[in-house]
């Protein structure tokens, strides 16, 4: 640690920090704009001026920019120096010259970094009496609102969008005080990280359009720490509520997982919670076959009667339901009747992944670990579409190669513009082997477009190159052998090599090949990491819970008397005709939050809480168990799925359903299943009280308490009590230093924007005070070893008249819950069948022409899209996630005009 002095007080910082970072870390408030902990310093805004003294005798010193000044041992600074303070006040006055009189009609107002910094410098009165420059705005699509007049020209947006996230369609135009940040023309921002602009922008130029549609101020919303439910990565989010409506999703900092950024699917996919199609009351099938609302007690009685009617009761769990809900179902029906609610194919892949990661023989990287990899291989996985936040981390990993050469000429890693200029195109090696091009190709050292079988062969060959003991690939083409050798050398030369694959690769052999590479690296004494992405928020948790269970289609081998489906639309996961027949032969109880084909066929539908109305634990692809809490305190019939199941089980006289609290069911889970023993440590107990108080879930200036509900009744309702969490339902309670898993919103005196997070970090840009939330379930042991997989597939051989159909994931639309949100639907492209140009010519189809193919038990009509990189004989299927259970597979393609066969 380096010791330095600010205004006579001694502080310490890490040696590679800059002074601004060090001051914020030490709790000294210093205004800034252009610096961002994840983006580094460029010294553009001149806002963080401080005085630096050469030594103790030096009384004059000089003004320096804190963000551009390294913290040297014994360095002496003054923040309070009058001249430095005057300069900071002047700078903000200049920045504010053109700032419009907009705060009352600005979505950023009340959580605006510019407001905070203006107050911090004490610039409270405008002296400028002349005219302001104005700009025209652009329509940037369904996610982001643009109001360029407010711009202060800090360049954070383009630095994030272009330099950090690799976007191309946002840039800076014009010069001097005319600079304009936008697209070359109106249009939707292409990057799947555009939502972060709303948080990165220090003022209201870029704001959340979906939030604006039902806008309320930050101080008026209840917050809850949550976990994103739209992919398997488990990014941490803050979810805001007012008047029973989910208002927005914000990034919640977790140093080990998502850091400062979220993807757009996670940020804007929340609309399903407010949708009118939500199931809000229990519904039971009446004599005339229609579903009618019934009371809660009636629903429990009916459920208990169905349970008590005898016969085999089957429970089908869900990869998008919490561990608690799945465990409750498993406890109710027994392990031998519990089936993971995933398609047979996906179930096999998930069990393979759970087996590989659960063996404890490879390091499962967190997203932060991915960022620090110095060589990576993406095997079969279109990560930017399947798990965008991990792809963003991979982009940083590639870029970090510039740090070492820069360090040789004494350029610190935070010196962003200098590092990028000096390092130029120096990159860590990234190899990509996928059927179709990915959005990471621009930074890849080498890309291979091949069918899954060939990708697997490449992976096996890489493993064989790394470790001679790994099975060799017979009959490898010279091209693949050369590539494999290059990849193997790069991975071996790296300190922290990383292999990435996932369920989206589609075939077991690809994942096995990835595991072989990780095992080979381990055999050579390298500490490699293996990230195996999973599609849904609790896919891995479900796979660990039901490791030896077959896919749910096996449940119908002999007709069960009763099937209980937990938060799952089975029709996305199996052939609908066969499933329809199977479900018609049995009684069906569905617990879900939204209507689906499964709820249409149920005898009893119970309204289960969505992530916004209940607490629970999810296991991410990293094997990190994380607790989420509800911002909406549900007053009606909507309840946690595990409560419905527990009460029904209790009423039916089944044992082992005796939990009535969140902590109770977590304790039961931890004791019943040893692999989840650590889950209880994922978050504090609900009995936690700080200074005798619950933690307030609403900011202290929450307004309208006595008027919000006055339209219904002027007598104020009693505030609800949140029985399952340590949060109070109101602004009353404790807010301050708290366990990091419980941070309901970020606020600190003088810091109203999201940047207040620096007050909760142990180290700026590092871990939170008290450690990053969540508990890792899959730690690599020192002795465990992974056997090599030896089933190497034959090379891909196109079949005449047939195509190997592979799933091409899409960020928007593939995930079931977010696809119900209107802004996400606007971004969903129509389903497409993707062929390369030669294959398309061979069937005589033109781009955009409708083609028919049989997929998942039905004829699909898909528009043809030409993708030059795609290997011959492979057909990509995009935008039909509900039929992904049939992929990969062989299909015949006919032009729709000639009739579907």
């Amino acid at each position: 640690m380096t010791k330095f002095t600010v205004d006579g007080e001694e502080y310490s910082a890490k040696p590679d920090e800059n002074l601004l970072q060090a001051c914020l870390g030490a709790g000294v408030d210093l205004p800034y704009f252009c610096w961002h902990p994840a983006l580094g310093s460029v010294g553009a805004c001149r806002q963080c001026a401080v005085r630096q003294y050469a030594n103790e005798e030096d009384k004059t010193g000089k003004l320096v920019m804190a963000c551009m000044t390294p913290v040297a041992e014994g360095a002496r600074f003054s923040v309070a120096d009058p001249e430095a303070a005057a300069l900071r006040a002047s700078v903000i006055e200049w920045l504010m010259i053109n700032h419009p009189h907009d705060c009352p009609v600005c979505e950023e107002g009340g959580e605006c970094h510019l407001q905070d910094m203006t107050m911090m410098t004490g610039h409270t009165t405008r002296r400028y009496r002349f005219t302001k420059r104005t700009h025209r705005n652009q329509d940037l699509g369904p996610f982001i609102k643009h109001e360029m007049n407010r711009c202060i020209g800090c360049y954070r947006c383009t630095r994030f969008y272009r330099d950090y996230a690799g976007g191309r369609d946002l840039d800076v135009f014009a010069a001097h005080d005319h600079v304009y940040f936008g697209r070359h023309a109106d249009g939707t921002l292409e990057s799947e990280f555009s939502g972060n602009l709303a948080e990165v922008c220090p003022t209201g130029v870029f704001t959340d359009k979906t939030f604006s549609a039902h806008y309320v101020r930050k101080w008026d919303m209840r917050g809850a720490p949550s976990v994103c439910t739209h992919c398997g990565l488990g990014c941490n989010t803050t979810v805001n509520e007012r008047a029973g409506k989910l208002r927005r999703v914000l990034n919640r900092y977790n140093g080990a997982v998502n850091g400062y950024f979220l993807c757009d699917r996670g940020r804007f996919g929340y609309g399903f919670v407010n949708a009118p199609a939500r199931i809000r009351t229990p519904r039971a099938r009446t004599a005339d076959g229609a579903l009618a609302a019934v009371s809660r007690a009636d629903a429990i009685a009916r459920f208990a009667a169905l349970l008590g009617a005898g016969g085999r009761v089957v429970g089908i769990g869900s990869p998008r339901a919490s561990l608690e809900a799945n465990f409750a179902l498993r406890a109710l029906v027994g392990h031998e009747n519990f089936y993971p609610g995933v398609s047979t194919r996906e179930g096999a892949l998930l069990q393979l992944i759970a087996g590989i990661l659960g063996a404890g023989a490879v390091h499962v990287p967190s997203i932060r670990d991915v960022e620090q990899a110095d060589a990576a291989l993406l095997l079969g996985s279109d990560l930017p579409n399947a798990a965008p936040r991990a792809a963003l981390a991979l982009r940083q990993a590639v870029r970090e190669a510039g740090f070492a050469p820069s360090a040789k000429v004494e350029i610190a890693p935070w010196h962003d513009a200098a590092v990028r200029t000096f390092a130029g195109d120096v990159r860590n090696p990234l190899f990509i082997a996928t059927p179709a091009p990915t959005r990471l190709d621009d930074i890849a050292l080498d890309t291979l477009r091949a069918a899954p079988a060939d990708i697997a062969r490449l992976g096996f060959a890489v493993a064989a190159c790394i470790d001679g003991a790994a099975p060799a690939v017979a009959g490898l083409s010279a091209d693949l052998a050369a590539r494999a050798s290059v990849i193997a050398q790069a991975l071996l030369a790296a300190k922290r090599p990383l292999v990435v694959s996932g369920v989206e690769a589609g075939e077991e052999s690809v994942i096995q090949a990835a595991a072989n590479i990780a095992a080979a690296l381990r055999a050579r004494g390298k500490s490699g990491a293996l990230l195996l992405n999973v599609p849904e928020c609790n896919s891995l948790g479900l796979a660990l819970m039901a490791q030896d269970r077959p896919g749910f289609e096996a449940a119908f081998a002999e007709p069960p008397a009763l099937v209980i489906v937990l938060e799952n639309d089975l029709f996305r996961r199996a052939e609908s005709v066969a499933l329809d027949a199977a479900l018609a032969a049995t009684r069906l109880v569905v617990l879900d939050h939204s209507e689906s084909p499964a709820t249409d066929r149920a005898a009893l539908v119970l309204p289960a809480a969505s992530f916004a109305e209940c607490g629970g634990t999810l296991v991410s692809a990293e094997g990190r168990a994380q607790r989420f809490y509800p911002p909406i305190i549900e007053q009606g019939d909507v309840r946690e799925a595990w409560r419905w199941l527990g009460e029904a089980g209790h009423a039916a006289g089944r044992g082992g359903c005796g939990w009535d609290t969140q902590d109770g069911i977590v304790a039961a889970l931890a004791s019943a299943l040893p692999c989840f023993a650590a889950v209880a440590r994922a978050a504090p107990l609900e009995t936690l009280r700080i200074a005798g108080n619950r933690i307030s879930s609403e900011p202290h200036r929450f307004s309208g308490r006595t008027a919000m509900h006055a339209a219904q009744n002027v007598r104020e309702p009693k505030p609800p009590v949140s029985a399952d969490s340590p949060f109070s339902a109101t602004m009353e309670g404790y807010y301050g230093k708290m366990p990091p898993a419980l941070l309901p919103f970020t606020w600190a005196p003088g810091w109203n924007s999201a940047q207040a997070i620096n007050k909760f970090q142990a180290e700026i840009g590092g871990a939170l005070k008290g450690g990053d939330p969540g508990v890792r379930l899959l730690e690599a042991g020192t002795t465990a070893a992974l056997p090599y997989y030896t089933e190497i597939p034959a090379p891909f051989a196109p079949r005449p008249g047939m195509w190997r159909a592979v799933m091409l994931p899409r960020v928007f639309g593939d995930e079931e819950q977010s696809a119900r949100a209107a802004p996400i639907r606007e971004r969903m492209a129509p389903p497409a069948l993707v062929l390369n140009e030669e294959d398309a010519a061979s069937i005589g189809a033109a781009p955009g022409e409708m083609l028919a193919c049989e997929l998942g038990g039905g004829i699909q009509h898909l528009a043809l899209e030409i993708q030059p990189g795609l290997p011959r004989g492979v057909a990509g299927v995009a935008g039909v996630a509900a039929r992904a259970h049939a992929l990969p597979g062989w299909i015949r393609i006919t032009t729709a005009g000639t009739g579907a066969s």
Partner: protein, 170 residues
């Protein structure tokens, strides 16, 4: 003794002083325009709602008796609903102080008694008046940078026309 007589004398003198009792309600007392009585929402000189639903009145309210929801029409912010629970209001005037658009104003009317408490809950249609109230001139959207119907970018007070970003001129 002397003190008692003096007291009687002073009391006697009061017979000849001016009567201060006001015969309310037959006779209405004068209340200054700045008197803090019934709250109204005013309109700008163009007749549009002044309230931009910025929520500052609600957050300033010590009784938390103001609740509203923002909505937007062609870039113009206005409240979808605006509710004051007068059974909680303490007529402190903080809402008026906080209002950046002079929309919310307190008036000299205090005759708001109700037999049913629910009737003290005023919605926007009860609050919104047709005039500008105490500040006849001010029009927030003429000052702010937002483009609204009838006022494009660069047409507000103290604004230059929008920048042509494709121009190379300084």
């Amino acid at each position: 003794m002397l003190s008692s007589l003096r007291t009687l004398w002073y009391t006697f003198l009061h017979l000849f002083q001016r009567n201060v009792t006001v015969q309310y309600p037959e006779q209405m007392p004068y209340l200054a325009p700045r008197y803090r009585g019934r709250i109204v929402l005013t309109r700008d000189p163009d007749g549009e709602e002044r309230c931009v639903s910025c929520n500052l009145c609600a957050v300033a309210c010590p009784a938390d008796c103001i609740s509203l929801q923002k909505t937007e029409t062609e870039g113009r912010w206005h409240p979808e609903f605006f509710r004051i629970n007068f059974s909680r209001c303490i007529f402190c005037g903080f809402c008026e102080e906080a209002c950046p658009t002079y929309a919310i104003q307190l008036t000299p009317d205090f005759e708001m008694s109700e037999y049913i408490r629910q009737n003290l809950v005023y919605e926007k249609e009860h609050l919104l008046i047709s005039g500008t109230g105490k500040y006849p001139e001010y029009n927030f959207y003429r000052v702010s940078g937002l483009a609204v119907p009838g006022k494009d970018k660069g047409e507000a007070e103290h604004e230059r026309p929008p920048i042509d970003i494709r121009s190379l001129l300084p």
